[in-house]
């Protein structure tokens, strides 16, 4: 049957926020999960200042839900502290974007990317 896309998914898919990535450098961290071969991949990069996230960019390869989730996430993560980032859970995205049951697994890949981002941040902190 025709896949269902919620209005939020359509909006973010049509108008992705903060696509792309930051050049590596001072205060820039990166989290990657998944792969093209797997059919789903996220690359998150963020600029952190003091103890908070200042801005986030994303790249995504995957279905419209995944692209929308990447876009949506870049707005959600701004302002988070490192412990808050580490505590981020895929359910937040699921609720906001109404992922169909059979696609929830792909949100775990997104969560992995967030976790990798938070670990990269931990490595920055001396």
């Amino acid at each position: 049957m025709e896949p269902e896309y919620s209005p939020t998914v359509v909006d973010h898919f049509e108008h992705p926020r903060n696509g792309g990535r930051f050049e590596a450098g001072e205060g820039v961290i990166k989290g990657v999960a998944g792969s093209l071969e797997q059919g789903t991949m996220f690359v998150l990069s963020a600029r952190v200042a003091a103890d908070r996230i200042e801005s986030v960019r994303f790249e995504a390869y995957g279905c419209p839900h995944c692209i929308a989730a990447g876009s949506w996430l870049t707005e959600q993560l701004v302002g988070l502290t490192q412990p808050e980032l580490r505590a981020w859970h895929w359910r937040a995205a699921d609720q906001a974007l109404q992922f169909p049951m059979q696609k929830r697994g792909r949100l775990l890949i997104l969560e992995d990317a967030v976790r990798a981002l938070s670990e990269a941040w931990a490595r920055l902190i001396p």
């Binding site: 896949p3 898919f13 590596a24 990657v32 690359v43 390869y61 279905c63």
Partner: protein, 398 residues
């Protein structure tokens, strides 16, 4: 159901799934549906309304027969190519089961053929599934090599519905005829696109359908060689219409529509094909300019209207959703619900991922240069947009 955000009418490039009915065809059908039309039962030969309907059915039989170089009495009306394929394959195999239980077909056939052969497997037949080359073509020698003394039937499609690739059915037909093996061809995608001649192609059974050639959905035909007669068992039983091969009241308006569509299709074939080939070329140039695109299937052994293209570095579902202003398809219409990669493209050696990022554009009689240009603009824009979000290969190398 989500509908496109933009309200521009979609651009129909899915002629291989089904075509609109040609207005000239619709006209003759509509006449049949009117109160003063030929509303009798074509089997009611005892009265004038019945005979009037029968005469139209027989005229249409001649039209369809003429378009494939056959005699009218060899045409059996069916509900479409799915039924024709099954009647041919199950019908011949079951009739001659005691003569041998080996049958041959290819992996890239339409489901109607594949699933009929799978049914034969359940009935104790052994099936050889030929694998085409990466160009989608099954070589006649592959068939020759697969033939055995107990081979009873070979089935090979003329034009593939997903890729548009043309098989050398005449070559295969010659081999089958030489060996006395029945040869069935699914020609659902050929009428009005390629010349068809059952004699020249040495075909014993040929499946046709109206709705891929500007006729109505729900009517088709099976050509069955009558000299020497080829025995086959009907799929269902009843009034004994169509010499007992296909019982059921003949749908006059549908048959009249198919006859007209096939006559027009053959008459206009060369000009239609020439025009569509130009549009297809224009589309292909536009798409290659995007970069990172590849054609699926043989570059020249193909019908004019079909272009199956894979797009690198864009995920399939997102690509299809991004292109929802275009009525195109990935895989066949009947599998359009599922996420599964096309078995046809997989058989041509494409990875799951590239198969899923493939789109079939199919053009037809009513496609305009403007349709093509707008399609190119949309595809270019959307592929670029999605690729801009695609992680590059070096992403892992932090």
């Amino acid at each position: 159901m989500s509908s496109p955000a933009k309200s521009a009418p979609v651009i129909y490039l899915d002629y291989a799934a089904t075509t609109p009915v040609d207005p000239r065809v619709a006209e003759v059908m509509i006449e049949c549906l009117r109160p003063e039309g030929p509303h009798g039962n074509p089997s009611s030969m005892g009265h004038e309304p019945g005979r009037r309907a029968r005469a139209l059915v027989e005229k249409a039989r001649q039209q369809v027969a003429a378009s494939i170089g056959a005699r009218p009495e060899c045409i059996v009306w069916t509900s479409g190519a799915t039924e024709s394929d099954n009647l041919a394959i199950l019908g011949v195999a079951r009739f001659h089961a005691d003569r041998g239980r080996h049958v041959i077909t290819a992996r890239t056939e339409h489901k109607a053929v594949l699933d009929a052969f799978k049914q034969l497997e359940k009935e104790g037949f052994e099936v050889t599934w030929l694998k085409p080359g990466v160009d989608g073509i099954v070589r006649p020698e592959q068939v020759r090599d697969a033939l055995r003394s107990d081979t009873q039937l070979v089935s090979l499609m003329h034009v593939n519905n997903e890729t548009g690739v043309i098989q050398d059915v005449a070559g295969v037909g010659a081999i089958c005829r030489e060996r006395g093996v029945a040869f069935h061809v699914d020609a659902a995608q050929s009428a009005g696109k390629l010349p068809l001649n059952v004699e020249a192609m040495n075909v014993d059974l040929l499946s046709l359908t109206a709705h891929k050639s500007y006729g109505p959905k729900g009517v088709g035909a099976l050509y069955v060689r009558r000299r020497p007669p080829l025995g086959l068992k009907p799929l269902f039983h009843g009034g004994g219409q169509e010499l007992g091969l296909r019982s059921g009241t003949l749908p006059t308006h549908q048959i009249v529509g198919m006859g007209e569509a096939f006559e027009i299709g053959e008459r206009d074939r060369e000009s239609d094909v020439a025009r569509i080939a130009v549009l297809r070329e224009r589309l292909w140039q536009g798409l290659t300019a995007i970069g990172g695109v590849e054609l699926n299937g043989h570059p020249s052994e193909r019908v004019a209207g079909v272009l199956n293209v894979c797009f690198h570095d864009v995920e399939g579902e997102s690509l299809r959703f991004a292109l929802r202003e275009l009525a195109v398809s990935s895989g066949s219409a009947c599998s359009s619900g599922s996420d599964e990669a096309s078995y046809v493209l997989r058989a041509l050696g494409r990875s799951d991922q590239l198969a899923q990022s493939s789109i079939r554009f199919s053009l037809g009689r009513f496609t305009t240069a403007d349709d093509v240009d707008r399609a190119i603009a949309i595809v270019s824009r959307e592929v670029a947009r999605l690729r801009a979000l695609t992680p590059t290969a070096d992403s892992n190398g932090t």
